[in-house]
């Protein structure tokens, strides 16, 4: 009765419950349907350990558990091995402590659940999970429980734990972040005290204060400001010194100068016994500057962290086959040319090619494309993809840092450091700007020391500090960084950062046809029975013949044909042309028109306009004609529509014949059509466009169109992950999905807009703030505040380009 009123979806994971399923779990006194033993097991585990509150708290449906099959248990057993534990477990007598990354977390309730569940395991002393990076720190008693048991417990509630051994870079970053935080904290704490005393001094200045107290307070300010200058401000001084020693000026020079002047002048005032002290300004400068730098560091690193997580999700173990024996070994011990077995559901531990078995793999980690890709013997597979269907035996070609994924991350890193022309311009502008500021500051100092000698110091300080060009130098890198990460998440790999800008500014998109706008996989459009034979039998005959051909057309013909009992002998496959064989005593053949004509001297009128033709014939007559067409990719129309809306022109450059190309052009409403072009012709056409002043984006099949791609302003290659590292193009469409390209163009446009916004703000702010400071209207603390807020604003604006949190990369 309860099943009819409740919608038939699993209470745990949300998937539909099959009609004959009878899985239920009582949760919080209500019976809830489950879709499979996996969800039932997980739900039961959660309820039995007293954590059913989880279902009240969660925001999302959950993954099911991995069944605890013997192989999985064996794999987790590897984690107990002392050599493996060396890299991520700390031992302290009987107490061990390890860091694990948890996979499958989708909301805060998941973290709560994991903490509760792990903490209740006997032998676990403490567990703490970080909500931002999903890292768990577990302490346990070696004698009571093993690490593998902890991992199994996590799997039992549907999550996966990986050992966390941070890359050296990550460790360095963490240490750096902590030091920065300490400096910031000191600057803040001592700064507050200095400000307090400064208020007293301001009040004394206003209504009179006895000299001895004023002197005392001044000296106390000096004492409190000293740690700020000599500890917290050290990075500022270092960077300024680095610039000056190379005879150039950088962002930190004015600020370092300001701090030095303020501090020294104040000491001088104390010694002389008269004049004001400016330690409050010093404190504000340092605190605000360090504060904004700290947040920038965190923000920038968030983008890199997403990519880091990709690397961490690698399996730690692999099953190596040596002399028919399966060994479970740590991944670090894998070598090239090892043979490994990857079961269904497992993640590929290394790059390689399939030697036995056929399956489909989920390459979404890399391409963002969730549809599994079919792989057969000889196909390349990449580390990080998940084997979906059936076991594969793979020969390893690359491991560790040589894998394609490691290469992608390196490319991503390079792209983010690549400075597009606009950034280089901004950098140079910033340098001249700083130089100008120093000169203005000197002039201001001289002027005001005559006009209002009491105020020359604070005014000069304000001038030095308010006009920080940090916004200029930060504007573009922050935006490119966020945009690159976002683009990778939707499957568009950017190898040159400048391409993002160029993509947004382009006004002509040139496409290749086959394999770019079309899927490159022909489909049978029409079958004509030219004889009096049974059509079904003809289809089966055709399919049987085509089994022996590797051509894509052969695959198309075999589709949707159920295999009949066709016995063929003396089969000969002529690659690229056709197949002939003997059937029931007759010679039969299937192939291109030229092939059949040459073989049997049979022909039929040309209807090439409808697509590629394949003829089936026997020695005496034609039996059937298959007409195939290439299918346009699903995202193509939408992409072209959106481009046209943007006033971007579209051109189709193809080597195909005029008739079939025209069909596609008509279907997609492309007016500029160039057919029967060789690669050289295409390149010439591109250059002709460029001479007209157009900025051209070329989208093509990376391998064949390489020279053409190189000639475009932006080259985008349709790549599949295995070959992408050989493609020299600016961007690679990893999942070959034109919808991703469409989104990519939109993101690039937004990036350009945001970069322009940032630079406009940076310039505008300086134009307003400088005059204010020069004319004496800004006190130093206001100047410092303005400068910091300006930088933060720019970074925050750039972060609008970041990817949204998703379960894969978030």
């Amino acid at each position: 009765m309860q099943n009819s009123e409740l919608s038939s979806s699993c209470f745990h994971c949300g998937l539909p419950v099959p009609d004959d399923a009878r899985f239920e779990v009582v949760i919080n006194e209500k019976t809830r349907p489950m879709c499979c033993p996996g969800c039932e097991a997980v739900a039961k585990a959660i309820v039995d350990s007293g954590n059913s509150r989880f279902y009240d708290m969660r925001e999302d449906k959950q993954a099911t558990a991995i069944p605890l099959i013997p192989e999985f248990l064996q794999q987790t057993a590897v984690y107990d091995h002392p050599d493996i534990q060396k890299s991520f477990v700390n031992h302290n007598g009987e107490v061990s402590e390890a860091s694990l990354i948890l996979e499958g977390i989708s909301c805060a309730a998941c973290i709560w659940l994991n903490e509760q569940h792990i903490a209740q395991l006997p032998g676990v002393l403490s567990v703490n999970i970080n909500y931002s990076n999903h890292r768990a720190t577990v302490r346990w008693d070696n004698d009571s429980i093993k690490l593998s048991e902890i991992l199994q417990a996590i799997a039992a509630i549907g999550y996966q734990a990986h050992p966390y051994s941070p890359e050296r870079q990550q460790e360095v970053f963490e240490a750096e972040r902590r030091t920065q935080l300490k400096r910031l904290g000191i600057a803040g704490l001592f700064g507050m005290q200095v400000m307090m005393i400064a208020i007293a001094l301001y009040a004394g200045d206003f209504s009179g204060m006895e000299l001895e107290y004023e002197s005392f307070l001044n000296k106390v300010s000096w004492l409190l400001a000293t740690p700020i200058v000599f500890y917290s401000a050290v990075p500022l001084f270092r960077s300024a010194w680095r610039d000056l020693s190379q005879f150039s000026v950088g962002m930190d020079v004015p600020v370092a100068l300001g701090i030095t002047i303020a501090y020294s002048a104040s000491i001088y005032a104390i010694i002389k016994g008269e004049g004001y002290v400016y330690f409050d300004s010093v404190a504000m400068f340092v605190f605000l500057l360090l504060g904004s730098r700290y947040f920038e560091l965190i923000a920038r690193k968030k983008g890199v962290e997403a990519a880091e997580k990709l690397m961490q999700m690698q399996p730690a173990t692999a099953t190596r086959i040596v002399d028919s024996e399966h060994q479970v070994i740590p991944v670090v011990e894998l070598n090239q040319n090892d043979t490994i077995m990857v079961k269904a559901g497992e993640t590929l531990p290394a790059d390689g090619y399939i030697v036995e078995g056929g399956s489909s793999v989920d390459e979404s980690l890399l391409t963002g494309e969730f549809d599994p890709v079919t792989k057969v013997v000889g196909d390349k597979v990449i580390a990080g993809s998940v084997n979906v269907e059936s076991p594969l035996i793979v020969c390893v070609s690359n491991v560790g840092t040589e894998t394609i994924m490691a290469g992608i991350l390196r490319l991503l890193d390079n792209a983010q450091n690549d400075k597009p022309p606009i950034t280089l311009l901004a950098d140079r502008a910033a340098r001249y700007f700083v130089f100008g500021v120093l000169i203005i500051a000197a002039a201001v100092a001289m002027y005001w020391s005559n006009a209002a000698p009491d105020f020359w110091l604070p005014i000069t300080l304000s001038v030095l500090v308010v006009s920080c060009p940090c916004a200029l130098s930060l504007a573009t890198p922050a935006a490119i960084s966020a945009a690159s990460t976002h683009l990778l998440q939707i499957g568009l790999l950017v190898t040159r950062g400048r391409a993002i800008e160029a993509l947004a500014a382009a006004d002509l998109f040139a496409f290749d046809k086959t394999g770019t706008l079309t899927k490159g996989k022909p489909v049978v459009d029409r079958v004509e029975n030219l004889s009096s034979e049974n059509e079904t039998q003809l289809l089966q005959l055709a399919a049987a013949l085509e089994r022996y051909s590797e051509h894509p057309i052969a695959k198309a013909i075999q589709q949707n044909v159920s295999m009949g009992k066709i016995d063929l002998t003396e089969v000969v496959n002529i690659p690229g042309q056709g197949v002939h064989a003997v059937w029931q005593g007759n010679q039969v053949a299937i192939g291109s028109r030229k092939f059949i004509k040459d073989l049997f001297a049979l022909d039929v009128d040309d209807q090439g306009a409808n697509g590629t033709e394949v003829l089936l014939a026997d020695k005496s007559r034609l039996l059937a004609r298959f007409t195939l067409r290439d299918v346009v990719r699903s995202g193509a129309q939408a992409l072209l529509n959106d481009l046209t809306d943007k006033q971007v022109d579209i051109a189709l450059l193809t080597g195909d014949n005029a008739a079939s190309a025209q069909k596609i052009a008509d279907e997609l409403k492309i007016s500029k059509l160039f057919t029967e072009m060789s690669p050289e012709d295409k390149l010439k056409q591109l250059q002709a466009f460029q001479q007209q002043g157009r900025r051209v984006v070329m989208v093509g099949d990376g391998i064949n169109d390489a020279p053409v791609l190189a000639g475009a302003d932006v080259s985008i290659a349709m790549g599949n992950a295995s070959e992408l590292l050989h493609l020299g193009s600016d961007m690679v469409l990893l999942n070959e999905n034109l919808q991703s390209l469409n989104r990519g163009v939109k993101i690039s446009t937004k990036t350009l807009k945001i970069i322009r916004q940032n630079i406009t703000w940076a310039i505008g702010y300086n134009l307003v703030a400088l005059p204010l400071a020069v004319s004496g209207n800004l006190s130093p603390w206001m100047a410092a505040l303005g400068m910091s807020l300006s930088s933060l604003l720019v970074v925050a604006n750039a972060l609008r380009l970041s990817p949204q949190k998703t379960h894969k990369l978030g």
Partner: protein
């Protein structure tokens, strides 16, 4: 107003204490997770959490199969 000759050094001593606490906090990772505590407050566990004594556990976990 001579009292400030006492009060200010006293406050400096307190400040040094606070600074020491700050250094300890950063070193021991108190600032590493800025989002977690927000959720923990809402989770309202009434202090059940972790004990390792068998008699305190409401059910039994079935992970100790091997």
């Amino acid at each position: 107003m001579e009292i400030i000759y006492l009060l200010i050094p006293l406050s400096i001593l307190i400040l040094i204490g606070i600074v020491w606490v700050l250094m300890w906090a950063v070193r021991s990772g108190q600032f590493d997770d800025m989002e977690g505590p927000a959720y923990r407050v809402l989770q309202d566990d009434d202090g059940i959490i972790k004990t390792n004594k068998p008699e305190d556990k409401p059910g039994h976990t079935e992970t100790k199969d091997s």
